[in-house]
């Protein structure tokens, strides 16, 4: 592993660009390395962006990932496929980040003890959404076991904020296929979420 810089410091843009090329060429080891390399930075970028957000404004996941990409990757050297691969990794990273937040929320809830005064409904919303996200994550894992491509589409579209065209390009299929597969994935997830929470 030429690019293995460990988990201590940030790898150089050149190293990451090389990893991207290897990973997008299908090297699983490169992919794992890539993940370890960019996840902390991506997490930090996402976290800051999330905290900077303004009331009532939506968060632009793609802008965020773009920012990370520009920071982490030597983009002049990276090709389109490499870039898409980065986005795929970023989508997975977003999933982890958000599910992590959801877990923390869940722990807070179970920890309890907080006396809410008038603003507590927002807390309730948060808890509800945390529960939903955790359930969704579970359903998504199950879905990916049955149909890996559907699982990836959910990750790219929902967590990664990618467009149909971007997903199609990344998966090497037509836009139309992505659209149809996305509908099927949503059907699966919706059916799973409509179920009462129960051990699978």
């Amino acid at each position: 592993m030429t690019g293995d810089t460990g988990t201590g410091g940030s790898p150089s843009p050149e190293a990451i660009t090389a990893l991207l090329a290897e990973a997008s060429a299908g090297d699983p080891a490169a992919h794992a390395q890539l993940w370890r390399s960019i996840y902390p930075d991506l997490h930090a970028i996402a976290h800051r962006a999330l905290l900077r957000r303004r009331p009532g404004h939506t968060l632009q996941t793609t802008a965020l990932v773009n920012e990370a990409y520009l920071k982490l990757v030597h983009h002049q050297q990276a090709d389109w496929d490499g870039r898409l691969h980065f986005f795929a990794v970023a989508a997975r990273a977003m999933r982890h980040i958000l599910i992590d937040y959801a877990r923390q929320r869940g722990r807070q809830k179970r920890g309890g003890g907080q006396a809410p005064v008038s603003l507590d409904e927002a807390v309730a919303v948060a808890e509800e959404r945390a529960d939903t996200l955790l359930a969704l994550d579970e359903a998504l894992t199950a879905l990916a076991e049955r149909d890996e491509r559907l699982g990836r589409i959910v990750e790219y579209r929902f967590f990664g904020g990618m467009t149909e065209a971007e997903v199609a390009r990344l998966l090497g299929v037509t836009d139309r296929t992505v659209r149809r597969e996305w509908r099927k994935a949503k059907a699966w997830l919706a059916a799973a979420l409509a179920e009462p929470p129960s051990p699978p």
């Binding site: 303004r54 603003l119 509908r183």
Partner: protein
């Protein structure tokens, strides 16, 4: 989703590919073609799920996850002792989507004051936003109401974070407070009235809360309601213009403002859609709060379905009736250990049992709450005030506006209302006049409100004056009179520029006066109403005609009161009114029927007039007994007039039949405790006594008496009449002591009563039967004196009373005195018929008792030729 096997999933997957692109019909055919039932079910389930997939899946997950992100970067976290503006933070007392709340004290040494300081998320990064924040803050700071926690101060910290200092309120959220104190439904409603009243005050000051929920409504240990966070939600959302002008932020104009700190369970549909909040939004949220206070549940709850499911429900589903919601609570098994609400606990917290709670909520409260929760803001109560009014009306036992007035409902309300008693009636009118004042205020504001004022006027009209002319006498109390006078003054002062509405209100007040037997006041007000309507609508308008009619009614009663005879102008006026109404209205309009009844009442009791009167009454009755009009109760009035007509021609059987019908209707419409029902009882007793059915007569008189006494006092003529009827029925059953006691009570209670002669006559009869002839004679002599004074020497009534006096004297063996009276009578009434015949009969009896058979023979009934001899009684044959 149960896990499908890989193989199964492949099958399902392939079928889905085909099915997804089909339309509904083709899909059904496609599904029908799947032979394997299990496979078919799985595909169908996924297709359904796809159609109902939560919308949040179509937006990036980060948006959805925003509320669960950490509040603030840790480094900037405020700590105890930190100064913000003029305040020093003491401790954190809450946190949420908006930011954090601290207990803080003033740190500038000005004065000791505890405040709730809300430190908000950053976000005021443009001059524009800061300016707007300041403006809004000033508006909120000007909001002063005892039930609204005041905004004291506000500003922006050095880091650009806005903060607000609010009045610090120690208390519990209203739902927890109610449950802890086990407040009854009624107590909860009274608390809610205070809440909604405060919201209305804010609305009048152009402030919308936008985030009403129990945790924002606190009750202090003293039981005082305080609303928190008024208008804060708006303060924290970017202005729409700002969103549009800020493409760099990548914000779409449809961003759901305020969504982040809004719980979907309390959100109005328009808030979920991202539309602007209005006063109707607060009305909706008040509805949710009331729902929860009453049932312990929210109309749309998150039961594992997730936020999107709640949002979907708020937008698309109809909430359960509160009465159903509390029913369901018991049968519900908490899913995955969630809310284990059960009906027992909910009802215990309301100091009642499940079944009682259900029946308390069923009906009005269901309707009131659901009206506030309508999806369409237009369909909700027009204001928080209208909402409050309906709750008050419910508490007072009045018909609520939210309900369509179905016949059964009106009846039920009347029954309930009149069981409530005098105090409740006063309360009813108080709240009505309160509402009237508000309606007038609104009338000047906008067209929508104007329509509401019209509606209210109609409502008042119905309520206070519809059962004219025998309206509820309980209204005739001093405080109520003052209130009516007060509203009259307001109508005259404030509606000068709206003559038609003014006329309508004056007319309504006039009818109310009629119902209260204040005919002079009624005449004055109705004359003004009539002048306005003649000027603005013309003579041939139905509203003018109805005013003419009601004025004629007042004048007829006034003439009767003042001079004891009819006003010659009344019948022509009523005929004119009837002609116009027949021309302008449907032939079966109840107004036509009522006018016919009034006219029939005013027509004399003889000849063709009497025939016409009865025919008018039958016609009126036919209209009033049509199913659509049955609720008005006016047929009771018509039936009583018919019965009176029958009484006049001594058809007591016919009269009793009409009274019987009237009684049945009155009991159903007004209830047994109502004075109108009691009056029918009384008149029926009279007819039954005439028919010799004394026990029945006694029963009906006894049913009438306590109600009439309570309503009218023991000096009223109706009470006297009823007591006499009862006395007579008792006398005929040989119960003399009771009967005498009743009659003496009448004489003692109102010595100057115009019916004194009638009571004395009854007493004379009673005493005579008990062989107290001296007492009887004394009473009867007073009768004669009273009648002579009242009617003069020529009235037939006098002849009858003289005859009776002479009869008593005959029994006393005071023959000479009796003879003198009777011969004097014959001189005045020489005819063989009528009084003359009575006099002759008594003379015969006298002479027989006196043992003067020759003289007796001279006065025995016979042909007219005996008249000459009768005129010479002392002449020997």
């Amino acid at each position: 989703m149960e896990l499908l096997s890989h193989e199964r999933w492949q099958q399902v997957n392939a079928l889905l590919d085909e099915a997804l692109d089909l339309d509904a019909g083709a899909r059904r055919r496609f599904l029908d073609g799947i032979g394997d039932d299990g496979l078919r079910a799985a595909v169908e389930r996924l297709l359904t799920a796809e159609a109902e997939a939560p919308v949040f899946l179509d937006a990036p997950a980060a948006d959805y996850a925003v509320p669960l992100l950490p509040d603030l970067p840790d480094p900037g976290s405020p700590a105890r002792g930190r100064r913000i503006g003029a305040y020093r933070l003491e401790r954190e007392i809450g946190r949420g989507g908006m930011g954090r709340v601290f207990l803080a004290t003033r740190a500038d040494g000005q004065f000791e004051q505890e405040v709730a300081l809300k430190l908000l998320r950053p976000g005021l990064d443009t001059d524009d936003a800061r300016r707007r924040f300041r403006t809004e803050r000033q508006i909120l700071a000007s909001l002063s109401h005892p039930h609204v926690a005041r905004l004291l101060d506000g500003g922006v910290t050095d880091e650009g974070r806005p903060y607000l200092a609010m009045e610090y309120v120690e208390g519990r959220p209203i739902d927890a407070y109610c449950d802890a104190r086990r407040l009854s439904v009624e107590e909860r409603l009274r608390l809610f009235i205070a809440v909604a009243g405060a919201v209305h005050h804010a609305h009048r000051n152009l402030v919308i809360h936008r985030d009403l929920k129990p945790s924002n409504i606190v009750v202090t240990p003293e039981g005082e309601v305080k609303l928190l966070d008024f208008g804060i939600a708006k303060l924290l959302t970017p202005a729409p213009a700002e969103l549009l002008d800020d493409p760099a932020a990548g914000v779409s104009p449809t961003t759901r403002t305020g969504q982040r700190w809004m719980t979907p369970e309390y959100a109005a549909p328009e808030q979920i859609r991202g539309d602007a909040a209005t006063t109707a939004t607060d009305v909706y949220q008040l509805g949710v709060v009331l729902y929860e206070l009453l049932t312990g549940r929210r109309p749309f709850e998150q039961n594992g379905g997730g936020v999107h499911a709640v949002e979907h429900a708020v937008l698309e589903e109809e909430p359960e009736k509160p009465s159903t919601a509390v029913s369901r609570a018991s049968g519900r098994t908490g899913r995955s250990g969630t809310t284990g609400l059960d009906a027992d606990r909910v009802s215990r917290a309301r100091r009642t049992q499940p079944e009682r709670l259900r029946s308390t909520l069923r009906g009005d409260l269901d309707t009131i709450v659901l009206k506030a929760l309508r999806k369409d803001p237009e369909a909700r109560y027009a204001s928080a005030e209208a909402f409050v009014e309906d709750v008050k009306r419910h508490l007072a036992g009045l018909p609520v506006q939210a309900r369509k007035p179905t016949p059964g409902y009106r009846m039920q309300r009347f029954v309930r209302r009149h069981r409530a008693g005098v105090a409740a009636s006063a309360l009813v009118v108080l709240s009505l006049v309160g509402g009237l004042g508000a309606a007038l205020w609104q009338a000047r504001v906008a067209r929508a409100e104007r329509d509401e004022a019209e509606t209210l006027a109609t409502f008042l009209e119905d309520l206070l004056a519809a059962p004219n002319p025998v309206a509820d006498e309980r209204l005739d109390t001093l405080s109520v009179r003052d209130l009516i006078t007060h509203s009259q003054a307001r109508v005259e002062a404030e509606l000068l520029d709206r003559p038609l509405l003014q006329a309508r209100m004056l007319h309504m007040i006039g009818r109310t006066y009629n119902g209260m037997h204040r005919y002079a006041d009624a005449e004055q007000v109705l004359e003004r109403a009539l002048a306005l309507r003649r000027a603005h609508l013309g003579d041939r308008h139905e509203a003018t005609a109805i005013t003419v009619r009601d004025l004629a009614y007042a004048r007829a009663e006034l003439a009767d009161e003042r001079v004891g005879r009819s006003d010659a102008a009344v019948v022509p006026a009523l005929r004119e009114a009837l002609a116009v109404l027949r021309e302008r209205l449907e032939p079966t309009d109840p107004e036509i029927a009522l006018t016919m009844a009034y006219l029939a009442q005013a027509l004399p009791y003889d000849g063709l007039d009497h025939v016409e009167a009865e025919s008018l009454l039958h016609e009126a009755l036919a209209i009033q007994q049509m199913p659509a009009h049955q609720w008005t109760g006016q047929s009771v009035f018509t039936l009583m007039l018919l019965a009176e007509r029958r009484m006049q021609v001594s058809d007591f059987k016919g009269a009793a039949a009409y009274y019987g019908q009237a009684l049945e209707l009155a009991a159903a419409h007004f209830g047994e405790g109502h004075t109108r029902t009691a009056s029918v009882h009384s008149d029926l007793a009279f007819a039954l006594r005439e028919l010799g059915r004394f026990e029945e007569a006694e029963r009906h008189a006894r049913a009438a008496l306590p109600v009439l006494l309570a309503a009218r006092g023991d000096t009223s003529l109706v009470v006297n009449q009823t007591r006499r009827t009862l006395a007579s029925a008792l006398r005929m059953q040989g119960r003399y002591d009771e009967a005498e006691g009743l009659l003496r009570a009448v004489l003692a209670s109102a010595p100057q009563s115009p019916d004194r002669a009638v009571t004395l006559g009854a007493l004379a009869t009673l005493l005579r039967e008990q062989e107290d002839l001296a007492g009887a004679a004394e009473a009867q002599r007073e009768v004669v004196a009273l009648l002579r004074r009242r009617f003069g020497a020529a009235h037939p009534m006098l002849a009858y009373s003289l005859t009776k006096l002479a009869d008593i004297q005959t029994e006393q063996a005071r023959y000479a005195e009796a003879e003198q009276i009777l011969l004097g009578g014959l001189a005045a009434w020489p005819e063989e018929s009528g009084p003359g015949r009575q006099l002759r009969r008594s003379l015969v009896a006298l002479y027989e008792a006196w043992e003067r058979p020759d003289r007796a023979e001279a006065y025995r009934g016979g042909p007219a030729r005996d008249t000459a001899s009768a005129q010479a009684p002392h002449r020997a044959p």
